[in-house]
Symmetry: none
Subunit: 407 residues, 2 copies
């Protein structure tokens, strides 16, 4: 697979004032097209740094997608750097100049003299017309590498990439887009997953990766373009089976699952059921994750467990939260027309909750007209992590119930 690099120019990126969303977006596009993305680099507006970097990339990569530094001001140095790095003097491009002029005349504004600079392109380059802003991009081969230079404004860059650069990439490179399958789990760590999958014989051509996020742990399988569909399905099924109940979704095979809440949404809509929830440790976050889902009827948070008990007419026993959860669930069910009732309680002081080195014990109770389920978990880490885990584990109990019932 051809090797591609991403290069961003801009002082605001190197100093951390702007997040480089262009690099991530272009990388995703490149991977989908069938490139191997090897590096991202960002430098500021020092001409020497730019020249040096362009020379390095010309020896290292087959293709480079570049953003930024095409504006009219003195710190926009990309064309100059290309000229110096590869000995390609800047030439005045008449058509580019006329496009810049009409950009201004269409907006009934005079063209500042500084914008003339944007019509200067390195010798031998292809102009990439910019119908969405003033700066045209350009593409030029140098060394083993084909460079495409685009403006840094994300909306302009995306247009130019999709309508100008992508067709050229498909012409110039022999590309075999690979396929990525992602198995998404909750409640199991990265190393436990690795142990469970340890015995699977991984075909050499398939790349296995893991990614632990705050909301899920992902197991990723990257298949080459010519990998047989049925082998891909079989390997995914084998790995999914080994991870069992922890799997809440698979992306990249038939459809995208989205996050856990979206997976629950799909199951709840299929079942035609509704939910009422009482949150404690997650303090509103479980409800917040269900934004836009009509099956969530109501949610409540009460800081004091005894106030909650009083409101629902239940005698709270701190020493038996499993039983208290059951009683609260039944009391809420009597008041509330929702099909499912979910009660979240926890054992732990405010100090334990806040202390990242201490754990709390979470009790989830799920009740519907026919059945009753409970589970408990130890939650550790900073308060925000405990909160998020509590929200996810509540949704996950519902997900497991709905999923298993269906099977």
């Amino acid at each position: 697979m051809p090797i591609l690099e991403i290069f961003s120019q801009g002082e605001e990126i190197v100093t951390g004032q702007t997040l480089d969303t262009n690099a991530a977006w272009l990388s995703e596009q490149a991977v989908q097209l069938g490139f191997t993305v090897a590096r991202h680099t960002a430098v500021g507006d020092k001409l020497g740094d730019l020249v040096e970097l362009l020379k390095e990339i010309a020896e290292r990569a087959d293709c480079c997608l570049c953003t930024g530094g095409l504006g009219p001001t003195s710190d926009d140095l990309t064309a100059e750097a290309v000229a110096e790095a590869f000995g390609l003097p800047l030439e005045f491009d008449e058509i580019a100049y006329r496009q810049i002029q009409s950009y201004f005349s269409n907006r009934k504004r005079p063209m500042p003299e500084t914008n003339r600079k944007q019509a200067l392109l390195p010798q031998g380059s292809i102009r990439l017309d910019n119908d969405w802003g003033t700066a045209p991009g350009f593409a030029v081969p140098a060394g083993r590498c084909w460079f495409a230079f685009m403006p840094g404004v994300p909306s302009e860059m995306r247009h130019i990439f999709l309508e100008r650069v992508k067709p050229l990439l498909n012409e110039r490179f022999i590309l075999n887009p690979s396929r990525l399958v992602t198995i998404k789990t909750l409640g199991i760590g990265e190393s436990d997953i690795q142990q469970r999958l340890g015995e699977v014989k991984m075909p050499e051509r398939v790349q296995l990766g893991f990614r632990a996020g705050v909301d899920e742990v992902q197991t990723k399988l990257l298949f080459p373009a010519d990998y047989p569909e049925k082998d891909m399905t079989a390997l995914t099924a084998d790995m999914t089976a080994r991870l069992g109940d922890f799997v809440f979704g698979i992306d990249g095979l038939n459809e995208e699952t989205g996050n856990l809440a979206a997976a629950v949404d799909k199951l709840m809509r299929a079942a035609g059921k509704t939910l009422a929830v009482i949150e404690t440790a997650s303090q509103g976050l479980l409800a917040a994750k269900c934004l836009g889902y009509a099956w969530l009827h109501s949610a409540a948070y009460e800081q004091s467990l005894s106030a909650l008990g009083e409101r629902l007419g239940v005698a709270v026993e701190m020493s038996d939260l499993a039983k208290t959860g059951e009683l609260l669930a039944k009391a809420l069910q009597n008041q509330n027309p929702a099909d499912f009732v979910l009660i979240q309680l926890y054992d732990g002081s405010p100090a334990q909750f806040q202390n990242k080195d201490q754990t709390i014990i979470l009790y989830n109770t799920l009740l519907n007209r026919e059945s009753f389920q409970q589970n408990r978990h130890n939650l550790g880490g900073p308060a925000g992590r405990k909160q998020n885990q509590a929200a996810l584990l509540g949704l996950d109990l519902l997900r497991r119930h709905l999923q298993n019932r269906k099977i």
Copy 2:
């Protein structure tokens, strides 16, 4: 000024699946400390690429802050790459091993054998203890450069940087830190701020910048190290006065405000008051933002406004949400011992809420024993933005009430 580079390792970054927020965050920190940040580089998990890059940086920079690749799995190669690049064989670190063990035993989970790998550190490196996760970081000099390797999980990385790496940087480098003052506002846009500040005479040595985030808009003033304290205070006060009531906090002068919820927390604790809230548009997110604050007594979300009215014995009038808000607030106050009652209602269909091109109208009602306040806002953008804005604007009404009363 010493030259610093940022280096991120991770296939998920190079392939564009994760936005590299670590690089931006570390750059800001480094600039404030007094470094010149020259480059960001990200590479995937190919050992050869990593080794090559580390060697390049060792010749080019005085300092390099590195993230990622310290996990327990086979694609976590950073320590191995350092060993190979600089001829520093990996050594088993007994203390690191015991820390990893206790991370698991604290969570009552068995330690998978694969995690043992995380205790292997390159010869001659300093261990950077990680109290927030399993992987310790490490720092090691090579060539002209001092490298610090930190985990890629943002929360762990930030802790390790602030508590372990930053003190070492101050020891090893002669730094003239510039000072950054951040004026934090809610409810006013970047261009409105610019207009209000347009008449302020900016001293040439002070750099003015703006950053619009999802939770606040920041006006940033970067002062050189030797800028007189009293001039800095005077300029900040002038600008703050021009922004008026929109300002909820100032960071970098005396103390850090934190986010809006933290600012409200401070005011509520000073006033010794408590709050009960009913959420609609923010659907739990307002309560979720108040995690750990004892003054939030209760929160409720009810999808159906008529169900809410029934529960509180109030006749709901969809055509007059201001009045309905007032009646609901009074009814809740009669049931609830909290000092403040906050009712959030909105006008808009589910379709309008979901459509990023349509707006909803938010009504906030704040009631305590003595006074009564209401405001309304138009909320636009994607559903998640509407939700977040609704949560923030509710808290902000409380903030303004408490802040003005005090003055």
